[in-house]
Amino acid sequence: MLEAEIYITLKKTISDPQGLTIKHALASLNYKEVEEVRVGKLITIRLNLKNKKEAQGKLDQMCKKLLANPIIEDYSFQIKGCK
């Protein structure tokens, strides 16, 4: 069994009002050093597979077909073994 963590983020060129609002809230808590905040999604998927390379191919397809919208989002993932 493998477990994947998929990160979906808005593309850098797209403004993220949620991130901006959080940045302002952090500034009001006096965290003046906060330069930028971007909000994304984390999706975890457990896969009934042993081979990481195969999992990589499948996850890539899943992201392209459904999990991310390539017009506005980027994605990346990490795969690790699990019980």
């Binding site: 797209i14 009002p17 949620q18 609002t21 459904l66 919208n69 017009i71």
Partner: protein, 231 residues
């Protein structure tokens, strides 16, 4: 059957569309369940507003895999009329029948209010009864109506007169001040290149009787009927 209204789990404007088409305009109309695998003799398909599949993942993203959507893509490719309103517009974007994508409103608020939109293109099956630049008062009700397309895509939309509606003031000013959600270039509705698939965020079915504060939305439905009759 002239009009078909697709019902997804979570659609909530399907009844309003049905009522306007059947009771106000006296046209034959039928609901289409999202699991249906066939489209029987429809002339125009309406993808109504609402929260299909609870807006999970992204608005409209899950609906695009409903069995009926494949038939609707074929229907659209044949040049038949498809109108997506609000969530219906979001579904058309996710399906790729229209270009671009929807982002969360700039203000992060769900916005439900009357807005003014300018008819930039009145030579479509959906706006042929509007005058060029006619200002319509039609309400919006959405959380993700911040339309986005890259620069090249926007140029292409402009080149092909695909921008049908833009948010504006009562007098027709299309400045950012009158942009409710941050949509690029104040875009409220676009059409595909072929000119038979329209997506719009404002709800014409909620403004088709004067008792509701406006009946400008009727122009959209009546334009479709006129277009269908002329074919």
């Amino acid at each position: 059957m002239r009009f078909g209204i697709v019902v997804f789990p979570g659609s909530n404007c399907d009844q309003d569309c049905f009522y306007i088409i059947k009771d106000v305009l006296n046209q034959p109309v039928k609901h289409i369940w999202h699991k249906d695998k066939r489209l029987n003799n429809f002339d125009c398909i309406v993808l109504p507003g609402g929260f299909s599949y609870g807006d999970y993942l992204r608005t409209g993203a899950i609906a695009m895999f409903s069995p009926i959507m494949e038939r609707i893509s074929e229907f659209a490719r044949k040049g038949k009329a498809v109108i997506g309103i609000c969530n219906g517009f979001q579904i058309l974007l996710e399906t790729g029948l229209l270009p671009g994508a929807m982002l969360r409103n700039k203000s992060l608020h769900f916005i439900c209010k009357y807005v003014y939109i300018k008819t930039e293109n009145n030579e479509t099956p959906f706006t042929n009864l509007c005058k060029k630049n006619q200002i319509l008062k039609i309400p919006i009700a959405h959380n993700e109506g911040n339309y986005y397309i890259n620069e090249e895509g926007l140029r292409e939309l402009k080149r092909s007169s695909q921008i049908v509606f833009r948010y504006c003031s009562r007098e027709g000013k299309t400045t950012s001040e009158f942009n409710p959600n941050g949509a690029i270039d104040n875009i409220a509705g676009i059409i595909n290149k072929k000119g038979n698939v329209l997506g719009m965020m404002p709800h014409p079915e909620r403004s088709s009787e004067s008792v509701l504060g406006s009946n400008d939305g009727l122009l959209v439905f009546k334009s479709i009927i006129k277009w269908l009759e002329s074919r």
